[in-house]
């Protein structure tokens, strides 16, 4: 696939499919069959940050759960460090979970309010028989320090913490077993802007410090651009484009990726003067359009797009796209104005960051 043989692939998904619904269920009658994830293949390299982006209902969270086998696939396979995990028996699967962990979007809903922070972080250590008693307590304190909390926070309950701190607790819990792969399902989207930046920086630090591989599921493209090495764009259960960060943002090939990038509001007045907006809502995944699933909203759609489903194909080195017309479309570039930030703004933001000992940052 995209990676050559010499690349160390930590996770390899082939033709993953997950359908929901279908059949007859009392008292609702015939249930529609939802193709939440429909034939997705991807490989994640060891040590990289791989992002899966798309809008609500595109199947990105389902894909993340399939990768961890938190839900069973309808078809396809997942290999983690060369081992097939789709058919792994429960006991062996539990051992594997030490190595692959997840952090969730909602820092309020994902921590049991009746457990102390120490118990929450210590739980995976007991479950996996990694540490108990004093050793476990020591490990909990170490984890708390690692994510920027205080060791004495171990005795407190989740409600005593702010959203950002709770997300740190979720990260500590996920990292307690020293996993090699960490999946973040919208890990920062429920947080305030300033807190979001803290958690992004923390994840980046931890990744470097612990040698993690990170898979981020997100809808915020600016966050993705900042944090990821490679990006897969999903639409209605399929990957429509997959590329390195810079080529995806600088030469997006799929019309959907382009619309997505164009739709992001940017904090530079006037930068978005002229653009064409995507019209309409995405179709229901219960009744995806035939051919290319994006053709109902695509301004370039031709006859072939309405009948033939485009396969994901290489269009440049490491850049794959599922579009019949990708080779013919005009180059698409971000407006230059997106980069033009005033000198005063640059200088003062740098002063602000510098006063906290943070090296130069984007203004």
């Amino acid at each position: 696939m995209t990676a050559d043989a010499s690349t160390d692939i930590i996770l390899d998904a082939r033709n993953l499919t997950r359908y929901f619904g279908g059949g007859y269920r009392f008292p609702f009658g015939e249930m529609p069959l939802i193709r939440a994830v429909d034939g997705v293949s991807l490989s994640v390299r060891r040590g990289e940050t791989f992002a899966i982006v798309g809008e609500s209902g595109c199947g990105k969270s389902t894909l993340a759960r399939l990768i961890l086998r938190l839900i069973e696939p309808t078809g396809g396979s997942v290999r983690f460090e060369g081992r097939e995990i789709t058919g792994t028996p429960p006991e062996a699967m539990r051992r594997l979970r030490r190595d692959m962990q997840i952090i969730f979007q909602d820092p309020f809903g994902s921590l049991n309010p009746r457990m102390t922070v120490g118990a929450l972080i210590g739980e995976p250590l007991s479950v996996h028989g990694i540490a108990s008693g004093r050793e476990r307590d020591a490990r909990v304190r170490e984890m708390l320090r690692l994510v920027g909390l205080r060791p004495d926070h171990a005795g407190r309950y989740p409600h005593e913490f702010s959203g950002g701190q709770r997300q740190r607790i979720g990260i500590a819990r996920a990292l307690a077993t020293r996993p090699r792969l960490l999946i973040g399902d919208e890990p920062v989207s429920a947080l305030d802007v300033s807190i979001r930046a803290q958690v992004i920086n923390l994840l980046e630090d931890l990744k470097a410090q612990l040698g993690l591989t990170l898979i981020l599921v997100a809808h915020d493209l600016a966050v993705i651009r900042h944090t990821s090495d490679r990006i897969a764009v999903m639409y209605l259960g399929e990957i429509v484009e997959i590329a390195d960060r810079d080529s995806l943002f600088e030469t997006p090939r799929h019309p959907y990726t382009r619309s997505l990038i164009d739709a992001i509001p940017v904090p530079v007045p006037g930068a978005r003067a002229a653009r064409t907006l995507l019209q309409g809502d995405p179709p229901s995944p219960a009744a995806p359009p035939p051919g290319c699933r994006f053709h109902t909203r695509c301004v370039y759609a031709k006859d072939i797009c309405r009948t033939d489903r485009p396969a994901l194909r290489d269009i440049a080195s490491g850049h794959r796209v599922a579009c019949h017309l990708a080779g013919e479309l005009q180059a698409h570039t971000l407006p230059a104005a997106l980069e033009t930030v005033s000198a005063a703004r640059q200088r003062r933001v740098a002063l602000f960051a510098g006063a906290q000992g943070i090296p130069a940052s984007n203004a």
């Binding site: 802007v193 900042h226 007045p269 997106l338 003062r348 933001v349 984007n362």
Partner: protein, 332 residues
């Protein structure tokens, strides 16, 4: 153009407390809005931006104690009797909320929900109201509008529901629309559609708008003027250009620095250390002092007033602004 000199809404020293000895969650807020103008109230959770919006709409919980003045078309919204407030609300001023899922009544058909305020304020008959509701659905570009009149909210997508909310709010052509995070629950492509629609309808009707948001990208796209709020106070205000090209208050700088850019990566994000203190632990002086890298003794004890800086109308509440002149020693 003459009319533009008189503000449509003039808020003066608005404070909101819950209990006489409690700290002000909205503290001494003053701003004004001209007809047709868009003001963005920006800030993070708990900064008082939604509370301010609710106060203007007369929708504060009864425990809340607002003080100050908010003149709207000559009347003070804070002291207006409930009955007169009801006459204004949904007619001359309207509000859109963040959650299109929960702010529509699930038990009523779309057409009736849009028609309700026409019947209430215009005394229109049901069939007239239905006709106007249909026009409104077309204006907010709901496909197959005729059919949607009889749909229930659960039959529509999030983006559609937000269009319905806009239709409900705008059906009586209000002079002022207050929109509280109207696109936060929506996907980016749908958000872009809704913002474009709001802008277009606003222009057509000459309506003024207060947009409450935490998203600086949205601010840059829609705002004429901006007020950045922190812990209940306006810390900086000016045109969108002032705010983004000449930001002055350290909190504004922190917010801007926290945003990843869409362009090439330029290193780590600047962050604002810590989090907003709970109201009972607000410092006596500048409320941002607990997180500000430039704060000194004076900042902790004395409240900096909103003072003119840079272009006309641009004001910041910071003793250290501009920081390159006054905080250079610290930063080095």
């Amino acid at each position: 153009m003459m009319a533009e000199a008189t503000p449509l809404l003039d808020v003066e020293s608005l404070s909101i407390r819950f209990g006489p000895s409690a700290p002000a969650l909205v503290d001494n807020l003053s701003f004004s809005l001209k007809p047709g103008e868009t003001l963005c109230l920006v800030g993070e959770s708990g900064c008082g931006k939604s509370l301010t919006a609710l106060a203007l709409m007369g929708l504060l919980p009864t425990r809340a104690q607002p003080s100050g003045r908010a003149r709207f078309e000559g009347r003070d919204l804070l002291t207006l009797p409930a009955r007169q407030m009801q006459d204004l609300r949904g007619d001359r001023m309207a509000m859109i909320f963040q959650e299109p899922m929960t702010s529509l009544n699930p038990a009523f058909r779309i057409g009736d929900q849009i028609g309700e305020s026409i019947v209430r304020h215009r005394g229109a008959s049901r069939s007239e109201a239905r006709k106007l509701a249909l026009d409104m659905l077309r204006k907010v570009r709901i496909p197959a509008a005729e059919k949607r009149l009889d749909a229930y909210p659960h039959q529509l997508s999030g983006g559609m529901r937000q269009r319905i909310m806009i239709a409900v709010a705008l059906v009586n052509e209000p002079d002022l629309l207050i929109a509280d995070e109207p696109t936060t629950a929506l996907d980016v492509t749908i958000q872009a559609q809704i913002l474009a629609l709001m802008r277009e309808l606003q222009r057509a009707a000459g309506m003024a708008m207060i947009l409450v948001t935490h998203d600086l990208g949205v601010v840059a796209e829609v705002a004429d003027r901006v007020a950045v709020m922190y812990a209940g106070r306006i810390v900086e205000t000016g045109t969108a250009r002032d705010l983004f090209d000449d930001p002055q208050h350290p909190y504004t700088l922190g917010l801007i620095g926290s945003l990843p850019s869409l362009g090439r990566r330029e290193g780590r994000l600047a962050t604002i250390p810590g989090s907003v203190p709970p109201p009972d632990r607000f410092p006596a002086g500048c409320r941002f002092a607990t997180r500000c890298p430039f704060a000194d003794a004076r900042c902790w004890t004395e409240t900096p007033p909103l003072t003119g800086i840079g272009a006309a109308g641009h004001r910041a509440a910071c003793f250290k602004a501009p920081i390159e002149a006054n905080a250079g020693g610290l930063a080095a």
